[in-house]
Symmetry: C2
Subunit: 424 residues, 2 copies
C-alpha cells in the first residue's frame, strides 16, 4: 500500500473497483486482426470474480493512448493494457507510459539476463532492438515475462492500478494466468460472480422471451437474464454479482430449468461439439464424419476439444465427387441422378464413412456454400445433413444463408446439433 | 444538412472527422463471445477511406452506454453502434438512445410491415415482442434492415452523427454494405488510405526491423510501417492517409520491396491459404491433405477460400492410427517402430493421400497438440509436416507450443507455408 492513500479510499476500491481493458495497435483499428485478447482476458477475470466495465481499443499513436488513459483513469480503477511493446518502432506503449507517468527509461538487468537466456535457448543472436526490451519506465514495478522478451509493467497511481502486457496472445495469457491474476486476487477483494447457463433448442429468441416473460417479471433486480442466439441454439445466461445471492440463484436457476423443460439441451455454456464429445464418451460410441461443403470444419470443431481421440476416429473430406465415390462408396448413378447436394448422397456418405472407419455414429454433410455453385432449384445455402447411429439414419435439409464463411460455420454447428439431438 | 449548423463546421467535420465504433453487450464484457464486429466494420471503413480512431465496448446497462456516448461524442464525429437491439429485455440500446436524445418511442408503420412480411416468408407467427421492434425513437431517421427485425437508426447531433445497428454479424454486415457505407460516402468526404502489404518469411521481427532500420530513418513522417508477426511470417504494412502521398508511396513501396528481396513471399495481405490456392491454380496443380493432429483444420483453411474446388480434391483426417493404415496405406510396421509422430509416417501419409486422391501435391501432418499425449522424447508441440509435389517430397519437424488451440492453428499455417515455399 502506498503511503499517500488514506485507508478508506483503498477499501472502497476493493469493494467497488472497476476494470477497463485497453488494447493497443493500428492493426486493430484498421480491422486487420480480430481482438481475441479482450475476450480472453474478460472471461478469465469474470471467472475469478472481477467484473470488466469497459473495453477500449486505440491505435499506436502516443497521443491517442494518452487520451485513452485519461478517460480510463477517470472511470476505472484497474487498467489492463495489451499491445505496443514489441521491439519495432511502431510499438510505442512503453515510451507513452514514460510520458504519462513522467519518468525515464532505465535498464533492468534481470530482464536483460532473461532475454539473453531466451535467445541462447532458441539459438538466436541478440540484436540491439531486442536488447532494448530490457529498458523499462523507472516508476514501474517489473514482472518477468517467462515466454517473451517484453516485461510486464505494473504501475500504481494513487489507489489506481495500470498493468501493461504484450499483445501476443500466448504471452498475454501466460502473463495473466501466472503473474497478473494471482497479484490481483491478493491485492483486491473480488465479488463472487454467480452464473447459470442453459443451452436451449427449438425456440426463436422472441418466442423464448415470451415463454419466460413471467419468470423475468418476478426476477430480483440484481439478477439478469441474457439471450445469445447462435446457430439454431439460444444460450441463456442467468447471472448476479455477490455471494449473498447464492440461495436465490439456486432457487431461480431451478425454476428456470423447469420452465425450459425438454428444450434445455444442457445446463452449461459448452459448445455443441463439447456436448457431443461428452455424450459419445458416456455412451461409448465412436464417430466419424464425411464432409463435402464444410471441408473439414466439422472434424476440426470435434478435434478442437481435448481428448477427442477417445471417440473420434477421423473424417473423409470428399470435396471432389470422385472422392465421394472411391472413399465413401457413393454410387455414381446417385450422384448423376440426384446431384451431389441431395438427401440420397448425404445418406450414402454417412453409411460409407461409418463402414470404412468402423464407427457407431457418423455425420455427413453436402451443400452449396457459395458464392458460386447455386441454381434456382438448389440456391447457395442449400445443405443436406445425414446423421447415423447404428441402424438409425436421419437426414434433413437446411437453408443456411448467403455468406460462405458463415455458411460453413452454421452448417457445421447445425450438423453437430443434429447428431447431438439424435443421441439424446 | 441541418439548418442550425454553420457551413464551415460541417466542412471541418468532413475533412477531419473521427469515427468511433461502440459495441454493446454483457456477453462481450464477460468474454462469452469474441468481438468480430469491430474488426469487420473497421476493415470495411478503412478500405473505403474512413479511419477508425477508437473502439469501445460497454455492457447492456443504460448508464454505461450513456456515459460511453458522452465520452465518444466528446472525441469523435461519427459513432457507429452495434448490439442491444434484439426483442428481449436484456437489449436496451433503443431505450437508452431515447433517453440520450430525449425523445419517445413511436410506432413506425413501414418497419412493422417489413417485420410482418419477414415473418410471413419464414412461416412464423409474429408475437408482441417482435412487433415492438417497430417502435423507434422519434428523433431517429429510420433505415430498413433487409435481413432482420431491428431497424437501423440514424441520429444527427449538431454536426455529429450516431448510427445504431443490430449486433448479429450478418445483419450488421448487410446494413453496413447496403445502407450505411453508401450514406457515409455521400455525406462525408473521405481520405484515400494508401497501403502496401508484404508477407515476409525467414526473419524474426527484430531482425527484420534491424534490416529495415535505415529505410525507416528516411521514411516521411506521414508514413507508417507496421510489423505483425503471425505463425512464422511477418505481415509488413506501409501506410499513409491522403491522395497527395500517392507518388511517394509508389517510390517507397518499390524501395521496400527491393530491400525484402527473396524474403518477400507476396505483395499482399493475403493469408497463406489464399496464396497457395492462387499458386496451385496458376500451375494447374491439384492438392489433397492427410491430417492427423490438425483434425481437418488445414482442409478447412484451404476450402474457406471461394473457388477451392478448382484445385482441392479432399482430405483424409486420420485421427486414429487404424485410419492411417486403411485409407492412407501407412505401414503398420512403421507406425509401431517409428511412432505415429515421425518423419516416416508423415511421408507415407503424404504419398498415400496423393495416390488415393490422384493429386499432384499433398500436405501431411502428424503431431502432438496436447494437453496430453506428450513424452520426454516427443513433448507436446512436436510436429512433422511432409509436403509432396510430383516426385519431390520434403519433410520437416517443428516445435509449436503448449496450448492445444494455438498448436492446431500454428501447425496448419506452417504446413501450408511449407507447401507454398516448395511450390515457389
Amino acid at each position: 500500500m502506498q503511503k499517500n492513500i488514506p485507508y478508506f479510499a483503498l477499501l472502497l476500491t476493493c469493494l467497488e473497483m472497476k476494470i477497463e481493458i485497453i488494447t493497443i495497435g493500428d492493426e486493430l483499428l484498421i480491422g486487420q486482426i480480430v481482438n481475441t485478447n479482450s475476450a480472453w482476458m474478460a472471461a478469465e477475470l469474470t471467472t475469478q470474480g472481477f467484473g470488466v466495465d469497459a473495453m477500449t481499443t486505440v491505435g499506436d499513436a502516443p497521443g491517442d493512448l494518452l487520451a485513452a488513459l485519461d478517460t480510463a483513469f477517470a472511470r476505472a480503477d484497474i487498467l489492463l493494457l495489451t499491445g505496443g511493446v514489441g521491439p519495432t518502432r511502431d510499438d510505442r506503449t512503453k515510451e507513452t507510459l514514460c510520458r504519462y507517468f513522467d519518468c525515464p527509461l532505465i535498464l533492468n538487468e534481470e530482464v536483460l539476463q532473461h532475454i539473453e537466456q531466451l535467445f541462447q535457448s532458441r539459438k538466436a543472436t541478440l540484436n540491439s532492438l531486442t536488447r532494448d526490451q530490457a529498458l523499462v519506465p523507472s516508476k514501474a514495478t517489473v514482472i518477468p515475462n517467462r515466454v517473451g522478451t517484453a516485461p510486464l509493467l505494473w504501475f500504481r497511481k494513487g489507489a489506481q492500478l495500470l498493468v501493461s502486457m504484450p499483445g501476443v496472445p500466448l504471452e498475454m495469457q501466460t502473463a495473466m494466468r501466472e503473474e497478473i491474476m494471482p497479484r490481483l486476487s491478493a491485492t483486491f477483494r473480488q465479488k463472487a460472480y454467480l452464473r447459470r447457463d442453459y443451452l436451449v433448442g427449438g425456440y426463436s429468441e422472441s418466442a423464448l422471451a415470451t415463454h419466460l416473460s413471467s419468470f423475468e417479471d418476478q426476477l430480483p433486480a440484481s439478477f439478469s437474464l441474457a439471450y445469445l442466439p447462435t446457430y439454431g441454439i439460444i444460450r441463456l445466461r442467468l447471472s448476479a454479482w455477490g455471494e449473498e445471492h447464492t440461495a436465490t440463484m439456486e432457487q431461480q436457476g431451478k425454476h428456470l430449468r423447469e420452465l425450459l423443460g425438454s428444450h434445455c439441451l444442457s445446463e452449461s455454456n459448452q459448445m455443441v461439439e463439447q456436448l457431443l464429445g461428452e455424450l459419445l464418451q458416456e455412451k461409448r460410441f465412436t464417430l466419424s464424419t464425411a464432409e463435402s461443403c464444410t471441408g473439414g470444419y466439422i472434424a476440426h470443431l470435434i478435434t478442437s476439444v481435448a481428448g477427442a481421440s477417445g471417440h473420434f476416429t477421423g473424417s473423409v473430406v470428399a470435396y471432389d465427387n470422385h472422392i465421394k465415390e472411391i472413399l465413401l462408396q457413393v454410387e455414381t448413378e446417385t450422384l448423376s441422378q440426384k446431384g451431389a447436394v441431395s438427401r440420397e448422397v448425404a445418406e450414402q456418405m454417412a453409411r460409407g464413412v461409418a463402414a470404412v472407419t468402423g464407427t457407431t455414429c457418423a455425420i455427413a454433410v453436402t451443400g452449396i456454400m457459395g458464392p458460386d455453385g447455386g441454381s434456382e432449384e438448389k440456391p447457395v445455402g442449400t445443405v443436406w445433413v445425414a446423421t447415423l447411429c447404428g441402424e438409425r439414419l436421419s437426414s434433413r435439409e437446411y437453408r443456411v444463408g448467403k455468406s460462405r464463411a458463415q455458411n460453413i460455420e452454421r452448417t457445421a454447428r447445425l450438423a453437430i446439433l443434429q447428431m447431438l439431438m439424435m443421441l439424446q
